[in-house]
Amino acid sequence: MTDLTDLTIADAREGLAAKSFSAVELAEAHLAAIRCANRALNAYVLETPERALDMAKQSDARLAKGEAGTLEGIPLGIKDLFCTKDVRTTACSHILDRFTPPYESTVTANLWDAGAVMLGKLNNDEFAMGSSNETSFYGEVVNPWRRAGSDAPLVPGGSSGGSSAAVAARLCLGATATDTGGSIRQPAAFTGTVGVKPTYGRCSRWGIVAFASSLDQAGPIARTVRDAAILLGVMASHDPKDATSADLPVPDFEAAVGQGVKGLTIGIPKEYRVEGMAPEIEALWQQGIAWLTEAGATVKDISLPHTKYALPSYYIVAPAEASSNLARYDGVRYGLREPGKDVLSMYENTRESGFGAEVKRRVLIGTYVLSAGYYDAYYLKAQKVRTLIKRDFDQAFENVDAILTPTTPAPAFAAGEKSGDPLEMYLNDIFTVTVNMAGLPGISVPAGLSSEGTPLGLQVIGRPFDEETLFRVGHALEEAAGPMAKPQDWWSKS
């Protein structure tokens, strides 16, 4: 029997249905892998083995009775931004490190209803603010990939760095993640995995720790495009508890996989050819264009003139909404409390001690841009720029069905390499943030290896609520790229 941790979700589903192995065996194989790996990778901030085995036993019972759900017995990791009932949920912040939600997020509830098994909670940048998983209160996550001939630790991307590392290192079959400016797609690109940020409103935000409410979306990280489609089909739903959740039927995303790209027109935006982009990224992009052309798509040059304004407007909108959302952490109702001489100093001491440097930086920027007299100059201006960015895409989608870009301007960087300069870190999201600003769906698919031997990703951007085209194009890229190399296991220690 092949290693159970190396299966795709689609294969595991078949194996469980054929009784080749049980859900308990599948869960045990993953729990053993996590035990051997987590000290080195730090992907999980909380392991829930008892819960996993209990859920797996119930899955086996349902499988035996022929009542299996879509994800029956599939072991998953959950980003620690999703509230899980009676299981500690921290957003990887000190301010929440004793928080145990008495409720379940809608996305995870959908997964459990479909029979999925929870292995544990995955590391992320504190409150999802970061691009390298270095801002987590529980320490950085190490990318299972290393540069050829080097054992220097690389970052797994962020903010969903625990999710991307766990999926790449075979510590779960798939993971939940969230994306506010690139937090699913950039870590997927850095770890050779598939990451999908669906259209804003496709997945309910209820029960997900809020960062920037007009940008946040949940999505999956998996090892194949088909697996990502299977997961998204379960995660997505209309939820009356989230007023921004879209009241639309959830299509059969998996059915779109394999439909091919014949007849599709793919746009190539010239503004994504940025200064200083590595030649190998440009080469990868050209390779992607060639693959899609060979598969029968038509390729067309397009212009998205406001691209360069997406990142600066994001760094107004996201901090502004974060400063408002994070106002709730005041040491009164839940989370950390640090005493003070009066109630005001209690608030100030709690937030001083509970928030890390990047979170404070963003809360302060957000407070500044929303402070008296500045609202029009910053937040309103940025929301108007979003209209221009969205208009660029609307016009492009009159002539193309999807847009192809690199996911990141460079491959995974070394730990500590960019943490000194916030602006340099922010530039990592240059190709992904436009998608959040316009609310569109995007997918990152592994497309090759860099000259350093580390993964590179291509991004496909689609029309609102047309994730199906993303899965078609993503799958065509995946097929053309051939089987993705696996990272060499240096992390397992028994």
Partner: protein, 95 residues
């Protein structure tokens, strides 16, 4: 520098985050750097542009005004740093 030291302390007070002098010095240059960088948005004329509020036009739903949740005071105070008989306890506010 678009933000001076006094402004850093004023924002930190508004945000209810205690900061030290050393932090204020660092934040002064970091916040100024970020704000100077976002100032490139001034190149765009947005006088006749509506702010974006929705990805797709969607009508906000209405629901019946009725109680759909509640009677779970114990759950609500479960994570409180300090509680007493289903009340959150805070430092004395009124003398």
């Amino acid at each position: 520098m678009s933000v001076d030291r006094a402004t850093v302390f004023r924002i930190a007070r508004l945000a209810r985050i205690a900061i030290t002098d050393a932090e204020a010095e660092r934040l002064e240059s970091e916040l100024s750097g970020i704000l100077d960088w976002v100032a490139q948005l001034d190149e765009l004329d947005t006088a006749n542009v509506e702010p974006m509020t929705r990805v797709e036009a969607m009508t906000m739903k209405m629901r019946k005004d009725e109680v759909t949740d509640g009677f779970c005071a114990a759950d609500i105070v479960k994570n409180a740093p300090q509680e007493d008989d289903h009340y959150f306890v805070v430092p004395k506010i009124v003398e």
